[in-house]
């Protein structure tokens, strides 16, 4: 099924303890699109400047991403972000932000985009997320991401948008901040109470958790000995998650659990190299192998309670 994404398209300058890039393709919609393109037909809605280069458009198209709604303002410049990570790769330190054409971004959806069944509202101003969501009337499943800036400056708008989506895909700290609740389980329950059927919490190197009204599912992150650049990991996760749901057309809990694995798999590749470099040359065999690996690293054999109690000897009187 078709999958629509609205979000930022950017050039990133990133420095980590392991190297640097002065100008590479980035942005939430870009990372999402490339990851999701392994599963579904993606349509991207975003804005770029005259400096964006046909090679970047071609890159998206080579991955099957429909760029019809990619708006180009030739007089403007593409959103630019410069950041640094220290050895603790969990925290991005922003050194420079040039919003450029992104400052006045108003998503414009073609008629075909409005008919999308799956929609990801990347991290943009919540009123814009709301407007996009209202235009995609037949959507089967809409998910939204956000960030601390909007939680702090546009909270009512953000909650209005959340009330109209099926899933919130958000990181750990933001979930707690959004719900104003230090306990993550309570925070997720509070967000669920606003309307969404699912809350997906991304926890970086600690994995991810899925909350629905009647279930909880949690997985570790894929174990990596070297994390090179975490930029875009969250959007890549969302791309794998939404891409898989769109590919199977199901949104029940069993499908969402598998989608969590695919999201984690895609994010694990993303952080292995700078920007989108690793995902660009990813193969299905590699995705499949890590999906299987997730099963191996989370499986344990259940044993009948009797076997536990039986092993206890004298102290089993506590039963």
């Amino acid at each position: 099924m078709s999958l629509l994404v609205v979000g930022s398209i950017a050039f990133d300058a990133v420095e980590t303890p392991f190297g640097k890039r002065e100008r590479m393709l980035g942005g939430s919609a870009t990372h999402f699109s490339l990851a999701a393109s392994f599963f579904a037909n993606v349509r991207i809605v975003g804005v770029v400047g005259g400096d964006f280069g046909a090679d970047n458009v071609a890159l998206l198209q080579r991955h099957g991403v429909d760029t019809t709604d990619l708006e180009c303002l030739p007089e403007g410049k593409t959103f630019f972000w410069r950041g640094r990570y220290d050895y603790d790769l969990n925290t991005a330190h922003t050194l420079e932000t040039q919003l450029n054409v992104f400052a006045d971004f108003k998503p414009k959806l073609s008629e075909e985009s409005k008919r999308a069944r799956f929609v990801f509202l990347g991290n943009i101003q919540p009123d814009l997320q709301y407007e996009v969501r209202e235009q995609v009337k037949d959507a089967q499943f809409v998910a939204l991401d956000t960030m601390n800036l909007w939680i702090e400056t546009a909270r009512p708008s953000l909650i209005r948008a959340i009330e109209r989506v099926d899933a919130v895909i958000i990181n750990d700290a933001e979930a707690r901040q959004l719900a104003d609740e230090p306990n993550l389980i309570r925070a997720a329950r509070k967000i669920l109470s606003w309307g969404p059927a699912a809350v997906v919490v991304k926890r970086g190197e600690y994995g991810a958790a899925l909350f629905t009204s009647d279930a909880y599912f949690a997985i570790p992150a894929y174990p990596l000995e070297s994390v090179f650049d975490p930029t875009g990991a969250g959007d890549t996760f969302a791309g794998g998650f939404m891409g898989y749901l769109a590919s199977c057309g199901e949104v029940d809990e069993a499908a969402m659990r598998r989608a969590m694995i695919f999201g984690s798999v895609m994010a694990s590749f993303n952080v292995e190299e700078f920007g989108t470099e690793r995902v660009q040359r990813l193969t299905y065999a590699e995705i499949n192998e890590r999906f299987r690996e997730f099963k191996r690293m989370t499986s344990f054999e259940e044993i009948p309670f009797e076997r536990v109690v039986k092993a206890l000897g004298p102290s089993a009187i506590k039963v």
Copy 2:
């Protein structure tokens, strides 16, 4: 099989945002013993002062804990710790430490204790851990815990002790500090290279991970809406882990994976109330229920690769 534990026995004064206790039973060996007592016959080695009331000895014995090697120095006072937790319950702030009789603790093992098959060396000075380990010649499986103090002040001794154990059970930050390696996967591999067959990393609210020479297993924590007092959670985890292994007498990877679950289950109860209060009145039915719950919250259905690829449509050319 018999399970020996050596460690601290203490009185704790704890304050959290949810309440306080001025003087409650604590210490690594205490938390470990009570948790492990649900699975195995535990022998405790430790020292207390004249202030350690018979009621506390009786409490241990009521849980089937053998207190033969519990040394009492009537002239001295029991180890005392005072700490505070803020809303971020991950960090304990130590306000006061009175080592008292624990300052000169020299573990004394009875002949029966020396014949133990399973041994947990709680967090004490590493040379003492080493000496105990050398006395238990027929042990099938010995595990060790430690803390930042020993990593910083007795590193060679600690590594000597680690070389002689089968498993290191340690928290996340300590694993990184011990291996001098910010990446946890590399840190665990480095510790494994010193000799142990397994490294168990406790990650608090993020769960726990098991590293062996050829496998990785990771689980989330049991989701709790209220964490009341995290004191002793790590030792309670170790008690469930070692207790289960001792109960089944197996130490292969399948058994260790289940032991990880039992450790997490026991720790999840521990933090629900102050000190050992919750574990003291725990039932097997409650343990069993959370064990099953872990299966539910970590399970997902694998699908054949063909079904993933098939769902892709035109973009499946990437295969």
